[in-house]
C-alpha cells in the first residue's frame, strides 16, 4: 500500500540522518535530566540570597540567620568587595546588607521573579527573628508544592516532565516539520514528486505518521529516563497518556504543515512560526497564569490547543486522572488538527 511505503521510506531516510535523529531523542532527555538534578528534592527552584558580612556582627544577625535556615532561601555570605563584584556581574538576584541601624535589601531588576521571592522570604524571616527576640514564638505557615490534583512529588522534575514533553512536541510540529518542509520545497526537493501521480494527502499523511511514531518513541524514552534515572512514575494509564501524545502531536504537525504553506522561504517561515509559537506558549496559561490579562484575552486563549493538551498530559501523568476528564479539551485539539490538515492538503504545493 502506497501510504505504508511512503511511511517506511520516511523512516528509513530519517534514521540515515544520524545527527538529527540522535538530537531529536537526546534533547528532551538532557533537559529532563538537567532539571531533575538541579531541582532534586520536592521544593522546586530555590533562590540564593547574598548576605554581605560585616566585621562587627550584631546579635540580631544570628537570629535572622537561624530564621532563614528554615526557609528555601540559600544564604551566601560574601565580603563587601565580593558582593559588589557579584552584583555588578548581574548574577545576584537579591542582596542583603546589614547596617547598625537595620537591614537593606537590593533586588536585581532583571531577576525580579526570584529576587522578589527571596526578598519576601527575608522579610518574613526578619519578622520571625524580631518576634523571637521579644520572647514570642511565631510559627511559619507550612507551604507545600502540589499539583492541581493534590499530588506531592519527591522530585520537582516530575511536574516538569509532561510540560516539557508537550512543549517539545509543539516545537517539533512547528519547527522541525513545518520548517523542514519549507526548506525542502525551497531547495526543489518536492518538484520531482509534483510530476508523479502521488496524491498530496498520501505524501503529507505519510510524513505525519512517521513523525507521530518518532514522537511516540521520544515520549517512551523520556518516560523511561524519568522512571529509571529520577524515579518519576506515571500515575495514570500509559495507553491514555500515549493517546493524548498522539492526538497533540498530530495536531501540532498538521499546524506546522498548514503554516508551511504560508511561507516561501525558510526565513519567512521562521518569522511566521515564532509568531505562533511564542504567543501560544506564553498565553496558554500553562507556564504563567493569565489572571492579570484582560478577560477577552483569557477567553480567546481558551480556544488555543496547547493548554488543554498540556493539562491532559499533566493530569494523567501526575494526578493519575482519567482521559475522560479531558474529553472536551482534547476534542478541541482534535478539531485544530483536522482543520490544519485540511488546510495543509488544500494549500500544499510541490514548487
Amino acid at each position: 500500500m502506497l501510504l505504508w511505503r511512503q511511511f517506511t521510506m520516511e523512516w528509513k531516510l530519517y534514521l540515515r540522518d544520524r545527527g538529527a535523529t540522535f538530537w531529536t531523542f537526546a534533547f528532551p532527555v538532557i533537559m529532563l535530566l538537567g532539571f531533575g538534578f538541579i531541582f532534586r528534592g520536592g521544593t522546586g527552584p530555590a533562590t540564593t540570597l547574598v548576605w554581605i558580612t560585616r566585621t562587627a556582627a550584631a546579635p540580631s544577625d544570628q537570629a535572622l540567620e537561624q530564621a532563614l535556615a528554615q526557609t528555601p532561601v540559600k544564604v551566601l555570605r560574601l565580603s563587601p568587595e565580593e558582593a559588589s563584584a557579584r552584583w555588578a556581574k548581574g548574577e545576584t538576584a537579591a542582596q542583603l546588607e546589614s547596617a547598625p541601624n537595620g537591614h537593606h535589601l537590593r533586588v536585581n531588576s532583571y531577576l525580579m521573579a526570584q529576587g522578589q521571592t527571596a526578598a519576601q522570604i527575608v522579610q518574613q524571616a526578619n519578622l520571625v527573628a524580631q518576634a523571637k527576640a521579644q520572647g514570642l514564638n511565631p510559627e511559619l505557615i507550612p507551604v507545600s508544592l502540589e499539583s492541581p490534583g493534590g499530588r506531592v512529588a519527591p522530585n520537582y522534575a516530575a511536574f516538569l516532565l509532561p510540560g516539557l514533553l508537550g512543549l517539545n512536541l509543539l516545537s517539533i510540529g512547528l519547527f522541525s516539520v513545518g520548517m523542514v518542509n519549507v526548506a525542502y520545497r525551497e531547495k526543489g526537493k518536492f518538484r520531482r514528486l509534483g510530476v508523479t501521480p502521488l496524491p498530496k494527502w498520501i505524501f503529507l499523511l505519510g510524513q505525519v505518521l512517521q513523525r507521530l511514531t518518532v514522537s511516540l518513541v521520544q515520549s517512551i524514552i523520556l518516560l523511561a529516563t524519568g522512571r529509571f534515572a529520577l524515579g518519576i512514575h506515571n500515575q495514570g494509564s500509559y495507553p491514555e497518556f500515549f493517546l493524548v501524545v498522539i492526538i497533540g502531536t498530530g495536531a501540532f504537525m498538521a499546524m506546522g504543515f498548514a503554516l508551511s504553506s504560508l511561507a516561501n522561504t525558510v526565513e519567512g517561515y521562521g518569522a511566521i512560526s515564532n509568531l505562533v509559537f511564542f504567543p501560544m506558549m506564553l498565553l496558554s496559561g500553562v507556564y504563567f497564569t493569565l489572571d492579570a490579562a484582560p478577560v477577552w484575552i483569557q477567553k480567546a486563549v481558551m480556544a488555543l490547543p496547547l493548554s488543554p493538551y498540556i493539562k491532559a498530559l499533566r493530569g494523567i501523568f501526575n494526578d493519575g486522572a482519567h482521559l475522560s476528564n479531558y474529553l472536551p479539551g482534547l476534542g478541541l485539539v482534535l478539531i485544530w488538527g483536522i482543520l490544519c490538515f485540511g488546510i495543509a492538503v488544500k494549500r500544499f504545493r510541490w514548487t
Binding site: L2, R5, M9, L13, R16, R191, R192, T196, W350
Partner: protein, 306 residues
C-alpha cells in the same frame, strides 16, 4: 487529431518582472522526437513546466495525449515521464530505492534493475544520492523519467553538464526511446544535439517560437546554405567598409567574419577581391554548410551560447 501527443495553444506565463512565455503554440506527433532549441532564459523550461503541470499557465490550452489538465491531471501524470532541469532528491536515498519508490506511484512500472542497466548505474545502485557525480545524478533522473514506461517523455536539458562520452551514450538512450515508440520532447541549447536527435524542432527566444520544422527544413528556410568564414589572429576588425565594398552582409563574431551566401562559387572570388582591396589581414578562409546555429543567429541576431 488522434496522432498528436501534444497540442499547445497560446500558453503564456508572466513572472513578476519578466514575461517568460509570451504565447506559445506547439504540436507534437506521436512517436516523434521534438526539440525546443534556444539560449538560456529563452523560456524553454517554463514552457515545459507548464506542459508538465508543474507551473500553472496564465492563459492558453494544453492537451496531452488527448487529455487536459483540468479533468485528467492524475491520468496525464501517470502517462508522462519527466526529467527536470535539476532533479533534487532526498540526500540519503539510493538510486535503487528512488526507482522503487517512484515506481510505486504509477499503475505500470519498469523494474529498477532494468532501468539501472539502461542508464549504466548498476555499480552505484546502492550509493546515497549525495555521493553521485553530476552526470550520475543526471542519469538517475533520466531513469526516473522512464520508471512508469511513459508514452510521452519530457527531458529538460538532459545533457547539460555531461562529458562528451556521457552525452553520446545519452543520445543512444533517447534514440532507444524513439525506437520503442515513445514520444520525446526535449530542450537543449546545443545545436548539434538538436540536429542529431530531433525529428522536428522549434527555435525559441524571448518567450516566443521563432520558427519550426525539421533541422534540414530550418536550414533550407534560411535560403543561404553556405557560410564563408574569414578568421583573424585576435579580434576581428570592423567590417562595415568591407561589407559595403563587397555588397553582402558580414557578421563580425569574435575572431572571425561570417558571410552567409547562397552561391559560394561566385561569392568566394568577390570576397577575396574585396579583401585584397581593403587590405583585410585575415589568416584563414573557409566555406562551410549552414547549421542550426546559423539559423538561430539569423532569426535572433545572437548566438545560442551568448
Amino acid at each position: 487529431m488522434i496522432d498528436l501527443a501534444l497540442r499547445v495553444r497560446g500558453i503564456r506565463k508572466q513572472y513578476p518582472k519578466v514575461l517568460a512565455v509570451a504565447g506559445v503554440d506547439l504540436e507534437v506527433r506521436r512517436g516523434e522526437v521534438f526539440g525546443l532549441l534556444g539560449p538560456n532564459g529563452a523560456g524553454k523550461t517554463t514552457t515545459l513546466e507548464m506542459i508538465e503541470g508543474l507551473t500553472p499557465a496564465d492563459a492558453g490550452e494544453i492537451e496531452i495525449l488527448g487529455l487536459d489538465w483540468k479533468h485528467h491531471g492524475r491520468e496525464i501524470r501517470s502517462l508522462i515521464g519527466v526529467q527536470l532541469q535539476s532533479t533534487s532528491l532526498f540526500n540519503k536515498i539510493t538510486p535503487r530505492e528512488a526507482l522503487d519508490l517512484y515506481g510505486a506511484y504509477y499503475p505500470t512500472r519498469r523494474s529498477a534493475q532494468e532501468l539501472l542497466e539502461l542508464v549504466q548505474l548498476t555499480d552505484k545502485a546502492d550509493a546515497y544520492h549525495t555521493t553521485l557525480s553530476g552526470g550520475q545524478q543526471q542519469r538517475l533522473a533520466l531513469a526516473l523519467a522512464l520508471v512508469n514506461d511513459p508514452e510521452l517523455v519530457f527531458l529538460d536539458e538532459p545533457t547539460t553538464g555531461l562529458d562528451p562520452q556521457a552525452r553520446r551514450s545519452l543520445w543512444g538512450v533517447v534514440r532507444g526511446m524513439k525506437a520503442e515508440g515513445r514520444t520525446v520532447i526535449l530542450t537543449t541549447h546545443y545545436m548539434e544535439e538538436a540536429e542529431a536527435l530531433c525529428d522536428r524542432l522549434a527555435i525559441m527566444d524571448h518567450g516566443v517560437i521563432l520558427s519550426e520544422g525539421s533541422p534540414t527544413e530550418l536550414i533550407a528556410q534560411l535560403g543561404l546554405p553556405s557560410i564563408v568564414e574569414l578568421t583573424f589572429e585576435g579580434p576581428a576588425p570592423d567590417s562595415v567598409s568591407f561589407s559595403a565594398h563587397l555588397g553582402l552582409p558580414v557578421d563580425a563574431r569574435g575572431e572571425r567574419w561570417e558571410i552567409p551566401t547562397a552561391d559560394p562559387k561566385s561569392a568566394l572570388p568577390a570576397i577575396l577581391g574585396a579583401a585584397e582591396t581593403c587590405a583585410v589581414p585575415f589568416c584563414q578562409i573557409h566555406v562551410r554548410r549552414a547549421t542550426l546555429e546559423d539559423v538561430f543567429l539569423h532569426r535572433t541576431g545572437r548566438s545560442l551560447r551568448e
